[in-house]
Each structure stands twice: as C-alpha cells, then as structure tokens.
C-alpha cells in the first residue's frame, strides 16, 4: 500500500516567466541591466569508479594539471585579494597554496591512483579526507579548525579543476550576478569579470562585498531575501542601486524607464570627469587637496586618471602580513624607495605598521577585545626593534622625496612623547653611522576619542593630524561594525562623531598644523560640505571616489559650508544630521537630487 504524500513541490512551483520586483537595500550606487548569471556553489559528485591500470598515467597527468590550474587560481585570488582587501585576507590563500603542494598529500594521491586504481578525483578526495581527520584529531583550538576549512576548500578546488567545472568560465560579459551571498573570494573573482551589477539575498552594507562593489563602482542591491530562487540563468535583471530594487524579467515599459534612468545617471557621473586634473578649489577660492588611500603599489598607476593629488594614506601592513614576520630594514628600504620612485612628484603620507595583535601573537593568546587590545602604535612602542627598522627604512628612502610619516592608534600624549624619543634615537644612530636620511614631517592619526580630547596638546608636538573616521566612529559609539547584530548602529554621521572631528580640526589649526581625513567619511559626499565648513585641509579617499569629491568641492562655497557646519553641529540626532546634509546638497547642487 502506498501512502499519499503531500506533493507540495508541484503546487508551489514558482512562476518563472512574470516580472518580479523585489525591494532590498542599495549597497553600491548606480543602475545596471543585464542577463542573470545565477551563482550557486556546485555540489560535487566524485567519480569513485575503478580505473584500468593503463589509465593511471593519464589520471596522474590530470592531477598534475589540476594542481597547476589550482595554483594559478589561488595566486590570482591571493594577488587580487591583496589589492582589494590587504594581506590580512590574502594570507589565507597563501596557506592554501602550501597545502596544494603538500608532499605527503601528493604522495598518497599518486599511490592511490597507481595502487588502488582510483580516479584522480577519488584519490584527491580520499587523501584530503585523511589529512582532515588527522588535523581534527590534533585540533585543540579554533585556529586549527579553521585550517580544516582551508583543506576542504583546496580539496574542492582540485576536484573542480579535475572535472573541468571551472567556476566562473561561463560568466557572460555584462551579466548581473544573482546569488544568495558572496564570499570575499567570490566577489574578488567576479570583480575581474566584466559584470555590470550584483543582486544578493543577504549581505550587509558594511560587508566586504559592499566595500569592494563601491570601490569598483559596480551597482549592488542586498537583502533581497529570495532573488536567487526566482531568477533563471539568462533572465534579464535590472539592478537599481539607488533605490535598492531588483526587477527580474521586466516588462517593456519598465525596461524603457530604466534605460532612461541609466542614461541620466551616466550623464550625471560623467560631469565628474570634467577638468579632472584641475585642483579642487571652492568657488570662493579655498583649495582642498584631494588625495588617494593606497594599499597596493599597483594602484598608483590609476592616480593620474582619477586626478588624485598625492597619496594621503599608504598602508604598510601588507609587508608584514604577506610574510607573517616583519621584513628586515634593508628589505623595507628597497620597497619604500621603489614606492617613492613610483609616486614621483606626488606627496606620500606613509603610515607605520597598523597591525592587530592577533596577527603578531598568533592564536594561543586570545585577546578578549582585540579592538581594545594590542594593536597599532601599542605594538610598535612595545617592540622598538620593529619600530626602528621600519622608521629607519622610511627615513633613508625619503631622501630627495616628498614624504610624510604618521602613526596610528595614538590614544594619549605620552605615546607621542615616546614616539619622539624613539625618533631622536634613530636620528642619532643614523648620524653616528653616517647613513644618509631625511627628517620628514611626523604626524599622528586621530582615531581614538581620548586623543581628540587632548588634541590641542598633541598638536603642539606633531606636524599634522590625519583623522581615521572608521575607528573614530567605532570607538566613540562603542560599536563593532563587524558585528552584524549591532552594525546598523555604526553611523559615521552621529553628532558625537562629527563634533569630535570638528574639535580635532580646531585643535590642529590652533597650532597651525594641517588636518586631513582618511577614513570612509571622506568619500561620503554628504559629508564633504560639512568637512569643508570645519576647515579640513586634505581629503584622502579610495581612488575611484576622487573625481566626485573634487567635483563637489569645485562647486561649493566655503562660506556656505561654514554656515552649514554651525547649523549641523547643533543637531542632536544622526537622523537630523543626515536629513540636513541631504537637503543642503540637493539645494546647492540640484544635479545630485535623486542620487543621494
């Protein structure tokens, strides 16, 4: 007797031909229309048949080719990750490359193919599973557990390559990526394809996916809940990254409407390209330097195209993170010399190592609160050897160059005194050894609220301030932006944050030192007039935002901005601040209405 089972699947089959419109949140501005590329991680079926002995050579050859291919992919992912996210993330992939070439695993795989008549993919599966079991037995903490995930990733990569199912080979040009969510690695690979937009079921506004999409100007809508379930490959999809809407299989009239919107938006952003290399001077004559935040030397090539006037923040962490140890002074000297050569006449503000303690300590010592822990200048002051190696290398490489140096995470005046003492020691040592160097301006980042409170005193001791708004926001509000439960509380326009920024700029100007901004707030165009009103001297942003920020500066008056600032500093809630900045910008620059 056969029991009746509910046949839900048939009744609930979604209608996949009608227009579907979903509302999410805009995470990267712009519009896109293109065929959907549905991205789902494949479930891999492993071929466990027994091979004939004469097939062994072929299988071994397939295995070697797959390793080669996987190595190429991982090097590519590692390099791109390095460019987009920094070495902190790319180190994962470097460890995976070592696993790919692990001689013990290779030995087992070859043996299984030769002696047990396994296919290459079955041998790979078996060998990796064995190692995963070994590691599970040895894993006493989450650190090794993480390596198990890496091993699984490597295993699937090799097997996928054996099955020639190249993950991204079939992404058509001008596609819209439709997925439940993307990992940073997925995002990085897609960013190399000619995709026009992305729509996701999940994702956060401050996630890496969103950050990368914004820095590449790829429209992105997140939080669409079920888009990946209702779109087929090749369906036409509209990405509305202004209003946070995705429309699949649009009706002709909707499509036409969006083509018009796109055209209008294209015209809107093209105005930023006018006179891109002209300095950013307000209508009433105040010049603001618009600089680029750079993490990777290769980015310097794009500076001219975007009209950047120098490097406002050069991060050096990757020198450490790529190796896992701090490179020698000579190595650093060569690196900085070639960097400063590349930058030519552009001024460069280089930041001393800003590494988290977890990176230096490895895992056996877990900090309860890493963001309140051993990081930035705290490590440098505890480890004068690291400090001196880096600073000597920078000073030596700066001869004949336009370089400034800054230190991160300062939280009081004592640290500034300690830095100055160490600097003096370095000068004396270099003088004694007759090594050529240059005394360059030394500044500090202001990103901890306590440093703001004593910024008047600090300003008397340093050559410049650079405000790191991301950390300043996080520390002022006591909100960890990486914590999904509360990340919506992370608001860089909170009155408390902007008042601290204002105080920092005032303190700097009391001592006649320039004050720059290098956090994300610098590329938030709503905040640009406010920062000008507060008297900011330099704004440093990700390269692709330089044209827009320059355009805004060129089209406003400092005197109007001062009035705006006085008004906004009196507001008590972030909602009021945002509303006022929006209304001001639309009023003074109507061309932005609809886009902010």
């Amino acid at each position: 007797m056969i029991t009746d089972k509910p046949v839900l699947a048939h009744n609930k089959e979604p209608e996949l031909t009608q227009e579907i419109r979903l509302k999410g949140a805009p995470a990267s501005r712009g519009y896109a229309i293109g065929p959907a590329f549905l991205f789902k991680r494949d479930i891999i079926n492993i071929d466990y048949r027994t091979i004939a002995p004469e097939e062994a050579e072929e299988e071994k050859d397939k295995f070697r080719k797959s390793i080669e291919q996987s190595n190429k992919e991982l090097i590519k992912i590692s390099t791109i990750t390095h460019q987009k996210l920094g070495e902190e993330f790319s180190a994962i992939f470097d460890a995976q490359i070592m696993m790919l070439f692990d001689p013990e695993i290779t030995k087992i795989i070859i043996r299984e193919i030769e002696q047990s008549n396994f296919t290459a993919e079955a041998a790979t599966d078996k060998a990796f599973n064995q190692q995963i079991e070994l590691l599970k037995a040895a894993a006493t903490d989450s650190y090794l557990a993480q390596r198990i995930t890496d091993l699984e990733d490597v295993k699937f990569r090799i097997i996928r390559n054996l099955q020639r199912g190249k993950l991204l080979s079939h992404v058509e040009d001008s596609s819209v990526i439709v997925a439940d969510n993307l990992t940073p690695a997925d995002m990085i690979l897609f960013s190399r394809q000619n995709i026009v937009g992305i729509v996701l079921d999940f994702g956060g506004l401050t996630s890496h996916v969103a950050l990368i999409a914004r820095s590449l100007n790829i429209p992105l809508v997140i939080g669409l809940h079920k888009i990946s379930g209702v779109v087929k490959n090749g369906d036409e999809v509209i990405v509305d990254g202004i209003d946070g809407i995705a429309i699949a299989r649009p009706a002709p009239n909707i499509l036409e409407k969006y083509h018009k919107k796109m055209e209008k938006f294209r015209k809107f952003i093209s105005i930023f390209e006018n006179d891109i290399n002209e300095p950013a001077i307000t209508l009433d004559g105040k010049r603001i330097n618009v600089l680029a935040n750079i993490e990777f030397r290769d980015e310097i090539g794009d500076m001219g195209i975007c009209g950047a006037e120098g490097i406002g923040l050069y991060r050096t962490e990757h020198l450490f993170l790529s190796r896992g140890y701090f490179p020698s002074e000579d190595h650093q000297f060569k690196y900085y010399s070639s960097l400063f050569d590349l930058a030519q006449a552009w001024p460069v503000t280089i930041r001393a190592f800003d590494v988290g303690g977890d990176k230096v300590l490895e895992s056996s010592f877990h900090e309860m609160n890493p963001f309140l822990g051993w990081r930035g200048i705290r490590i440098m002051l505890d480890r004068p050897d690291i400090f001196k190696n880096q600073i000597r290398a920078i000073l030596r490489a700066s001869v004949g160059k336009n370089v400034k140096l800054m230190f991160p995470m300062i939280h009081n005046l004592t640290q500034v005194h300690q830095i100055k003492e160490l600097m003096e020691e370095i000068y004396t040592e270099l003088d004694k050894k007759d090594i050529p160097y240059k005394k360059i301006p030394v500044g500090v980042m202001i990103e901890v609220p306590s440093a703001v409170m004593v910024s008047e005193e600090i300003a008397r001791e340093v050559a410049f301030f650079s405000i790191g708004t991301n950390d300043l926001t996080q520390y002022t509000l006591a909100v960890d932006r990486g914590n999904d439960i509360i990340s919506s509380l992370y608001k860089e326009l909170e009155p408390a944050v902007i008042r601290l920024i204002d105080k920092t700029i005032q303190s700097g100007h009391l001592s006649n030192i320039p004050v720059s901004i290098c956090g994300e707030l610098g590329s938030n165009i709503l905040a640009t007039p406010l920062l000008i009103g507060m008297g900011i001297d330099d704004i440093s942003v990700v390269i692709r935002r330089v044209p827009e920020v320059k355009y805004i500066i060129k089209n406003l008056r400092e005197s109007d901005c001062v009035k705006l600032k006085n008004e906004v500093l009196k507001l008590g809630t972030v909602a009021e601040v945002e509303a006022r900045l929006k209304s001001w910008l639309t009023e003074h620059m109507p061309q932005f209405s609809g886009y902010i």
């Binding site: 470097d94 070592m98 696993m99 013990e104 040895a138 650190y143 390596r147 896992g324 490895e362 056996s364």
Partner: protein, 88 residues
C-alpha cells in the same frame, strides 16, 4: 644524516605561521627533513604534518636532515627555532 634537538620558544607555539615558515625553509633544501615529537615522526616539508604536531611553547622536538645539503639546512633551521620564528 644529521640531527638536532630544538625547543619551541615563542608564546604562540607551532601554529600556522611558524609551520609555514618551517616548510618554506625546508623546501629550499634537497635533504629529506623529518621532525620527531613524542615518538611521532612527520615529514617536515608537509604543512599539514607540521601543523598536526600542535607543539606548544617549551616543548622539545628532534630535527633530522638527510641529504647533500644537510649541514647548512640544519643550521638555518635551528636558527629559525632559536629566534622563536621571529615572534620573540
């Protein structure tokens, strides 16, 4: 064949980063390389092998190199351990 006893000196012990440093260095030499700890011998050129040792600060292990360049290999490897993998 040449052997040496070494001790883990860095606070974090033999985690991924030091393990990677060991494998990287060992791979530059032609000699076979084994590490023995608590009676277990692993291939020192295998990242997984080295990680499974899960050696903590203060623990001792024996390094064995066997091959034409063993002398140079062992002195360099001993130095890496001596320096606590650059984490001291």
């Amino acid at each position: 064949m040449i052997e040496a006893d070494v001790q883990i000196k860095n606070n974090a012990g033999l985690h991924t980063r030091p393990a990677a440093a060991i494998v990287k260095m060992a791979s530059r030499y032609k000699s076979e390389f084994y590490i023995t700890k608590d009676g277990i011998e692993i291939n020192g050129k295998s990242i997984i092998g080295v990680m499974t040792l899960a050696a903590e600060k203060g623990s001792w292990m024996k390094l064995t190199f066997d091959g034409a360049d063993e002398e140079q290999a062992i002195s360099e490897m001993k130095e890496l351990f001596e320096n606590g993998f650059g984490e001291l």
